[in-house]
Symmetry: C2
């Protein structure tokens, strides 16, 4: 521990109630989208936000494919569960978020403070996979909130045929699909009532 | 598909650059905290945000324990890797985020549209675990960004002895620890230079 006096740091304010609503409390998962397009600049901005949020050992194992046309979405839709495919059909963009099973190849650059980590993961494939999937999944959630933070709606879809989608979209690569995310402007007229959340007394404990 | 004309919906604006900085682009993982305390109201607000972000089948498998005193933190610290324990020592609050392996018990309430799902997971423990861990991990990331959204700093820690921490904190429960998160006000004087992020051309593809 340093003996230096602690440098005073200005405390940050919480985000506005409106911003917290957009990110967390008011946003809904779209069942249908408006025809308003999503631009390439918006898609790049989603990734630019996502990539700065923290991952273990700065490992950043997530990759993303953005399907922006009816033809490219057609490569994805047949592999989604039927009810999900309908939702994706109206989405201007369908993103497939994938885990790069060889993410550790970049650790020499990403974790310069730990020069043996890349080799450690090369020789410990089980630990590499467990940690890689955990960190890629964290990044899936950052991605969802980044979409919302940019004023768009995110529709995450977990119900799809993983091996089939991997074959269709990632042949001869080291990627495995984790989550499909519809992206666009929500059509609020198609929403159902919101589902309940668990009570605090079932979920958090103060000690 | 409905034949009704699409109801015009006001498009949302992106959050401010300042808010995007607090959430994603400017925030850092603290190595040391200021002594400023974190209130119980702030901890409850973190959870109130976290619980509204989406999970598969609205399953919400994450649970949180907030250790707020030196004595309760002492139950956690011995199980962290040495370098991590030092960071947690200065944190006013140390949260342990855990996966409830029996989360499906609540699905009758949480997914009223799918009355057979609870039984399905009861009889398919492998699928239950894979999906439960995925959704609990999404919620870990929501939690980290909720801490930031409230003007606090989050220090996620993956390096700890999971079985030992589970025994210390969750005896006779169905919880398994996933992530430790230090919470407080960051001491910026203790930061190292920021680590790099992967280039866009390595991580995203537009099709």
């Amino acid at each position: 521990m340093s003996n230096q006096p602690i440098t005073p740091t200005p405390h940050r304010s919480p985000l506005s109630t409106e911003a917290l609503g957009i990110l967390f409390t008011e946003s809904r998962t779209p069942r249908r989208f408006l025809p308003t397009p999503v631009t390439d600049e918006e898609l790049q901005a989603i990734w630019e936000l996502t990539r700065w949020a923290p991952t273990g050992h700065n490992s950043q194992p997530l990759r993303a494919v953005f399907a922006r046309t009816p033809e490219t979405r057609e490569r994805i839709l047949p592999h989604l569960a039927a009810g999900n495919a309908i939702k994706s059909k109206s989405a201007p963009v369908v993103a497939v978020l994938a885990y790069d099973t060889r993410y550790h190849q970049h650790l020499e650059t990403l974790t310069p403070y730990n020069p043996t980590l890349q080799h450690h993961y090369e020789t410990n494939p089980e630990e590499r996979r467990t940690k890689g999937l955990f960190n890629a999944t964290l990044q899936c959630a950052y991605f969802i909130l980044a979409v919302r933070a940019l004023g768009l709606s995110a529709g995450p879809i977990g119900g799809f045929d993983r091996p089939a989608l991997n074959t269709a979209l990632f042949p001869n690569t080291t990627y495995e699909s984790l989550l499909v995310v519809n992206i666009g402007h929500i059509d609020n007229s198609a929403l159902h009532p919101r589902l309940p959340r668990l009570d605090r007394n079932l979920t958090i404990t103060m000690i």
